[in-house]
Amino acid sequence: MMSLDISADNGTMTIGEKLGQISWSLIFLITLVASIGFAMLYSAANGNIDPWASRQMMRFGVGLAMMIVIALVDIRVWMKLSYPLYGIVLVLLIGVDLFGNVGKGAQRWIDLGFVQLQPSEMMKVTLVMVLARYFHGATLEDTGRIPFLFVPLALVVAPVGLVLAQPNLGTSLMLILASGSMFFLSGVRLWKFGLVIGAVLIAVPLSWQFLLHDYQRDRVETFLDPDSDPLGTGYHITQSKIAFGSGGLTGKGFLQGTQSHLNFLPEKQTDFIFTMLAEEFGLVGGLVFLFLYCLLLLYGFVIASRCRHQYGRLLVLGLTVNLFLYLFINVAMIMGLIPVVGVPLPLISYGGTATLAVMVGFGLILSAHVHRDVRMSRRGLGDL
């Protein structure tokens, strides 16, 4: 009977209707933010479209197409695929740990020949999907029961462990924080968080001693005292701060950033691209950029609030948290607020998988928006 109810106003939308439902303003906003990225990549290459801007534009084009395709697919299909996709990515993660290429002191990639796959980035999406799927049918009574939480905890711990083993501190952190938000949004009691945080506080000194790699320890130590090692790890942050500060209110002008163009700024096309933006366009440019990014986040909140099914709400909010974490960790890191963790700024930083993962995420958000009114059973899978 219930399945009948669902079928009453489910996926009867034609492709044309769905296209009409897509939030084109969000896509415009995404394109706008990405275009700022192209401009910065153009500047990073000293006013050349190659090698970065051109390839980034290509990827963005592919990503845009993927995003729209994903948006048109019924949200219930994605819900149904949550577990399988999670499983596939988890297997890929195990794969990189076993066979992945070594890059930047971390095993992260699977080289498929035509593209280098970064499963940890994909996991950021699928973990949100699978948790949204799990909590979709959970009542507050369910979430109140501790045994009920064992499964999602296992779903989180498995990828986090694998990513930590790569070792990739930044992504592990993001996975934990995003999952934590999902638990929080699903109504898990605060004292349980307190318990976990307490356990972490005990575990941190132990893992410092036994789990963290030397370079990770260095990064934390350098963060605590960046001047102790001005030409080592701290050099990057010091130079980044100089770039910010010398940008001043209005910046040095497009293509005029000295810190970036004279190579004092490391990795300016990836992790430190916002530094470059702030150097060339100053506080004004930095604030405009942050505002646009916050608008993206706001879209997430609005879409979530208009969603009539728990899966969609949790999915959108989880993905929004992800986006926020990218932004915050990256920007706080390059401004010297938190230790150096290698997190790119999606849509802006040069790099394939992060951009694609974020655009897949936006595809899902858009799908949740297009299919905001579909009916789903508590158990989840209504038929389509």
Partner: protein
């Protein structure tokens, strides 16, 4: 609770917690904005400065060192181009292949190749590496011709100090070298830290180093993180070193060096009697300052250092020797000025004189017979001066000697000048803690014993005798825009008739048959010299030796022979040049030093005469040339029919 209620409850929880989460995000973004504000507004100035420090590299531009010229503008110390072949390894492609090819044009030793490889390892790929310095012209052109086939290779032009007169001026000019720790200490001139920068290490180069050095210019360069120069932002040229003109006459100097080199070791000084300008000052044996400017090897330096003839020491100013009989003018003048004796004072010389239990000998064993003052100077009779000394006492002699520039540094602008010594009873009491013996006055009266002087001091003494003025010797004629020599000197304050008596004695030495310098007189009319010989004993002659016959200088080892000295001025009727010649262990002053002094003084005057006649010709032509032009301010062109 119905399913609907449960759902509603769950959704309220979700909304609440979404708001909480949103609030947290908002707080986090606010923190980012605050940080952005702090970095870009509050700390902006500080970071802007740091960014500029990063970006801009100040490079010093070494100013060219000032030239040193002689009084006629002949260059004595110049900067020469020094060619080296350099390689920028990033442009070379195959470095080894390029090295092999360069090696065919410019021989590279194995040590060179090792050093080059090491330098390449240590330097950035865009830093030029010196392959070989001091190329010959042939090598430079060989490399130049092949440059198209040698990517990354270029010829670098540096500057090296060059001394065209080499050894002849080594002691006066000194040389340049890299600053050592002592030079750098407490000095703020940034040039000193510039690699390859050279400072004056001796002589005029050191004395006038500040003027010759100039001030540093600088270039503001934009550099990237690895130090590669992107572009030049600004350039501020420094002040080139000032041109320094010396009172020297290079031709005379060259001649003096040649002439003096006939002897093993010695020094000679020529001073302009009226101005005090040093016309020539040399010390032999000498060394090649060019070797020092290029960087002298250890062995070569040790050889110079250990040479018994002390080539590194400027004997003209730093050698202190007993002046011997050249000092007798001081004794004579002191006696005349004291009023105790006059020029007619006569003494009988029997070859020796008794004082207390000691017997003081005259250089002429048989004695000179009866002498007056002029005769005593002419024949250099020791006994006569013993008599004077005994009558007037040491203080008068010492006082006169000091007035004529002996016993203290005369203050020539050269580092390392030594003061010599004019002893007196008080000096002996305070320094040696011993009483003065009357016999020591006798010894001092003929420039022996404690008396020490430098050849420069003797030249100054002679110049002051010849001019009657307290002439001050100097080397700097002018330093571009900063200094001009002083040429007017006050009278020395000796009665003219007394001075005339002494000068008459000196004239007798050279121009009257029987004078100790008669054999070395100048026979060219109008150029005659007047002088005084001196032979200074450097060892005691024992009684036993005296009785068994004094050995001749030629029979003694070099180190025990007498020093030969001669002081003179010329021309005798209108003195212009004063000269002092010192030959270390040269034997008799009259025989060894006098001919040198004569040749030098003759050369001075001959050079003058030659220049005078050359100067006559253009002077004759000049009025003819200037006539047609009218006053210099007239700009109207000369018309054709005029």
């Amino acid at each position: 609770m119905s399913a609907f209620d449960r759902d509603a409850e769950r959704q309220r929880m979700l909304s609440r917690r979404t708001l909480v989460l949103g609030g947290l995000k908002g707080a986090a973004v606010s923190a980012l904005v605050a940080r952005l504000y702090y970095l870009q507004i509050v700390e902006s100035d500080r970071y802007t400065t740091l960014a500029e420090d990063n970006r801009i590299s100040l490079r010093l531009i070494a100013p060219p060192r000032g030239q040193i010229l002689d009084r006629f503008g002949v260059p004595l110390a110049v900067n020469e181009q020094n060619f080296s072949v350099v390689l920028v390894s990033e442009r070379a492609g195959d470095v080894q292949q390029i090295l092999d090819e360069v090696g065919r044009l410019v021989p590279l030793t194995e040590a060179d190749e090792r050093r080059i490889q090491r330098d390449i390892q240590r330097s950035r790929v865009f830093t030029p590496i010196t392959l070989k310095e001091n190329l010959t012209w042939d090598q430079v052109s060989a490399v130049e011709v092949n440059l198209p086939d040698l990517p990354g290779v270029s010829i670098d032009v540096g500057q090296v100090r060059s001394y065209p007169f080499g050894e002849a001026l080594a002691h006066v000019l000194g040389y340049v070298g890299a600053p050592n720790e002592k030079d750098v200490q407490g000095v703020s001139d940034p040039l000193l830290s510039l690699p390859g920068f050279r400072i004056g290490k001796g002589g005029v180069e050191r004395q006038f180093d500040q003027a010759l050095r100039g001030t540093a210019g600088n270039r503001q360069l934009e550099v990237n993180a690895v130090g590669r120069v992107i572009r030049e932002l600004s350039r501020e040229n420094g002040q080139p070193g000032r041109q320094t003109v010396l009172t020297l006459d290079a031709k005379l100097q060259h001649y003096m060096h040649q002439r003096l080199s006939a002897e093993e070791s010695g020094a000679a000084v020529v001073i302009d009697v009226n101005t005090g300008g040093v016309q020539g000052l040399c010390s032999t044996p000498s060394f090649d300052p060019n070797q020092f400017a290029m960087g002298i090897g250890y062995d070569a330096y040790q050889a110079l250092l250990n040479d018994e003839r002390t080539p590194l020491i400027n004997k003209a100013i730093a050698g202190q020797y007993p002046p011997g009989s050249t000092f007798k003018m001081m004794t004579a003048l002191a006696a005349l000025e004291s009023g105790i004796v006059n020029a007619e004072h006569r003494v009988f010389c029997s070859g020796h004189m008794e004082l207390g239990s000691h017997r003081f000998h005259c250089w002429r064993r048989g004695g000179h017979g009866t002498m007056d003052m002029v005769g005593a100077l002419m024949h250099s009779c020791d006994v006569y001066f013993y008599d004077l000394a005994q009558r007037i006492g040491m203080d008068r002699i010492a006082d006169m000697a000091r007035r004529f520039g002996l016993g203290s540094r005369v203050g020539l602008e050269l580092p390392g000048e030594r003061p010599g010594l004019i002893p007196d009873p008080q000096w002996k009491r305070t320094t040696l803690k011993k009483p003065w013996h009357p016999g020591e006055t006798l010894i001092a009266s003929m420039g022996q014993g404690y008396v020490l002087s430098t050849p420069l001091q003797l030249a100054v003494m002679t110049a002051r005798l010849a001019s009657g003025r307290a002439v001050q010797p100097h080397l700097a004629k002018s330093i571009e825009g900063e200094f001009q020599e002083q040429t007017e000197w006050p009278l020395i304050g000796v009665k003219p008739e007394n001075l005339a008596t002494v000068l008459k004695g000196m004239n007798g030495v050279s121009n009257v048959p029987g004078g100790t310098g008669y054999k070395s007189r100048i026979t060219v009319p109008g150029m005659e010299l007047a002088g005084k010989s001196g032979s200074a004993q450097v060892r005691r002659i024992s009684m036993a030796e005296r009785s068994s016959g004094v050995r001749k200088n030629e029979d003694l080892p070099w180190r025990e022979r007498d020093h030969a000295l001669f002081v003179a001025y010329a021309p005798v009727h209108a003195p212009k040049y004063a000269c002092a010649v010192f030959v270390e262990h040269g034997g008799s002053g009259g025989a060894t030093a006098a001919p040198i002094a004569r040749d030098i003084l003759l050369e001075c005057q001959m050079l003058d005469a030659a220049r005078h006649s050359v100067a006559q010709q253009p002077q004759a032509a000049a009025p003819a040339g200037s006539m047609g032009q009218g006053t210099p301010s007239t700009t109207v062109p000369v018309s054709g029919n005029e």
